[in-house]
């Protein structure tokens, strides 16, 4: 019997242990940031251990970054956390995309931008959205701080092989519908824990059609579907993306030859298969406090079916039978590791069409990384946002996690391109509505949510 993509990559990295139990895996790339690493570095020091492979470790500062005045970090504890990472990288010889440097960005932007994320690698990071890197055909997963410490000391990790779910996406996305909507659809339809215990491989013509950016969005939100891993087999788009990147293999031809062997064999079996046609998929907006509490645009919010719904409606101050256009939004956040890549900013800008941000709305654009920010500025995209009245900010996790100065005020409804609409996620009392960058930008210029498919038909693209 054939092997899946996941099987092939997994097998290559197993150093010890039997399938069905914990196995020791070698880790090719360890991405780190300031929040989940200080404890691990401190333990290395106190135990007198070395960082085994500093050259396979890349650091950035993202979670604590205020994206307006980046060097004004008012919170002394946050500043201390950033300084701790700077010191740890110096002491242990790790390359750091330092605060204010040209390489800085959200940790899941850096790996691909540097070309360090590659097909066939194992990639870990103390961050649940590490699955993003799986878009390149890597086994990439989020880990806790104790596991970070284990990888620091040994460049390996103990893991039990997950079951594998194949999600086949067929058909074509309509204009105004995006990879983000596919994920919000899947999570709404099947639930936030549907893929717990699984690694997801996305495949099918609709996946092939997606850009690397779109694939990253799919993999990024595997975790909101319960899966620690999401991956896509590499193809020519993957190779083209990586060629010429700073950390791409020196012998690129040889690398591509190997990467071309990384696909699921036709006679391989997934543990579970889900097949979805995306032809008629509508854009999504969430109304509640889990990513599963979303709806295709135009549908009315559901009746209260249990105490979870009841609590969500109370927190969000919304009611059954309303629809997305009724949500009184006053904040727009275009950012996060889910949707702040260059393509997201370009796609969002298409919906400005000479219009201005509605007067009652504060709209932020937070590019995922400084390279994205620079590229958008060079292309004139940044100016389009600025002219329309958006705040054009520095890169970071920003109001997706609200660890920094960037927060959505209590009671405020925010159209957000992020991944989690949990209570308080974007700031205490904040009310988050997940959607695509296009939907968020359109909401900003309309003053309320509006169907991205209709807008495409109504206003000629200039």
């Amino acid at each position: 019997m054939g092997q899946t993509l996941f099987d092939k990559v997994w097998q290559e990295h197993v150093l010890a242990g039997e399938e069905g139990n914990a196995q020791l895996l070698y880790i090719d790339l360890h991405m780190i940031h300031e929040v989940t690493t200080p404890q691990g570095f401190e333990s290395l020091r106190s135990e007198g251990r070395q960082l085994r492979a500093p050259e396979k470790t890349i650091a950035t500062i993202d979670h604590n970054v205020p994206t307006k005045n980046i060097f004004t970090i008012k919170d002394a504890i946050s500043r201390k956390q950033i300084e701790a990472l700077q010191r740890n990288c110096r002491d242990f010889g790790v390359e750091l995309m330092d605060h204010g440097s040209e390489g800085q960005g959200i940790v899941h932007m850096i790996g691909p931008e540097q070309g360090a994320t590659q097909p066939g690698k194992t990639v870990v990071c103390g961050d649940s959205h590490t699955a993003t890197h799986g878009a390149f055909g890597a086994i990439a997963f989020g880990i806790g701080s104790s596991e970070v410490e284990h990888v620091f000391a040994t460049q390996t990790i103990w893991q039990r092989k997950p079951k594998i779910m194949g999600i086949k996406l067929t058909g074509k996305l309509q204009a105004g519908v995006y990879a983000k909507d596919i994920m919000l659809y899947l999570i709404h339809t099947y639930g936030t824990d549907f893929a717990t215990g699984y690694a997801i491989e996305y495949y099918g013509e609709a996946v092939s059609d997606l850009s690397m950016e779109g694939r990253m969005t799919l993999c990024n939100m595997a975790i909101e579907f319960g899966a620690k891993y999401g991956l896509v087999a590499p193809d020519q788009k993957t190779f083209d993306y990586l060629e010429g990147k700073p950390r791409a293999p020196k012998d690129f031809k040889r690398a591509v030859a190997y990467w071309k062997t990384l696909y699921t064999d036709p006679d391989a079996d997934f543990d579970y298969v889900l097949e979805v046609s995306i032809d008629d998929l509508a854009p999504y907006v969430t109304w509640g406090t889990t990513p599963a509490m979303g709806l295709p645009f135009g549908e009315k919010f559901p009746q209260v079916s249990d105490h979870n719904d009841q609590r969500a409606y109370e927190y969000m101050d919304l009611r059954p039978q309303m629809d997305a256009t009724d949500i009184p939004i006053s904040y727009i956040f275009l950012g996060s590791c889910t949707n702040s890549r260059l393509e997201d900013l370009i796609e969002g800008a298409k919906y400005i069409k000479g219009r201005k941000v509605a007067p009652h709305i504060s709209a932020w654009v937070v590019p995922g990384s400084r390279p994205v920010k620079r590229a958008a500025e060079a292309m004139g995209i940044a100016q389009q946002y600025i002219d329309a009245g958006f705040e054009w900010r520095e890169p970071g996790c920003s109001a997706c996690i609200s660890m920094n100065a960037d927060r959505v005020p209590p009671g405020t409804h925010c159209a957000s391109t992020t991944n989690r609409n949990f209570e308080g996620r974007q700031g205490k009392g904040s009310r988050t509505h997940l959607c695509s960058p296009a939907m968020a930008v359109l909401a900003a210029v309309k003053g309320h949510f509006y169907d991205t498919r209709l807008d495409d038909q109504e206003v000629p693209v200039l």
Partner: protein, 204 residues
Amino acid sequence: MRPFIVHKGTTVALMEDNINTDQILPSAFLNRIEKTGFGEFLFDNWRYLPGSDYPRKVKAEFPLNHPDRQGASILITGDNFAGGSSREHAVWALDDFGFRVVIAGSFSDIFYMNSLKNGMLAISLSAEERKALARLKGDEQIKIDLETQEIVTPYAKYKFSIEEEWRRKLLGGIDDITETMAYEEQIKAYESKWDEFYAYDAIT
């Protein structure tokens, strides 16, 4: 790692489903560089009255604040516990508050691993079994025995299962890193096979 063999303690129930790590420990408190001191902020947005200054006023109706549940070390909760962010700070907060065991319908994969790494037992039980446990009074002690994989209450016994490898590590309080270092030869073999393949031109 702190060993786990037998634990005796009292319970508190928080039966919401899908409690995520942003609820367990809100992100505003993730910026500490230590593993300790997070207990004060456990379920911060649920435990305290909004806007209150230090010393903060607690919400009396929140189960963890009930006078007869003080000192509880076993948390009984709903389905799909601790999804979302990978923050191990959530485990540190539960631990610092005094919990040694969490009993839920199911756990997110990352939290499950984080809890084991800290010697905290994450046990999955059916909704019916958890309902029975949630009915226990604040002063009724129960026993969690990892050796026999049993939960013993004054009224019933429940079996639970845990992967053998982790059971061994927990019972022995075995340090993962020390154990892994015995695989140096295999680690080196991998590196000698792949390091050259992944070599890149460092731009200096």
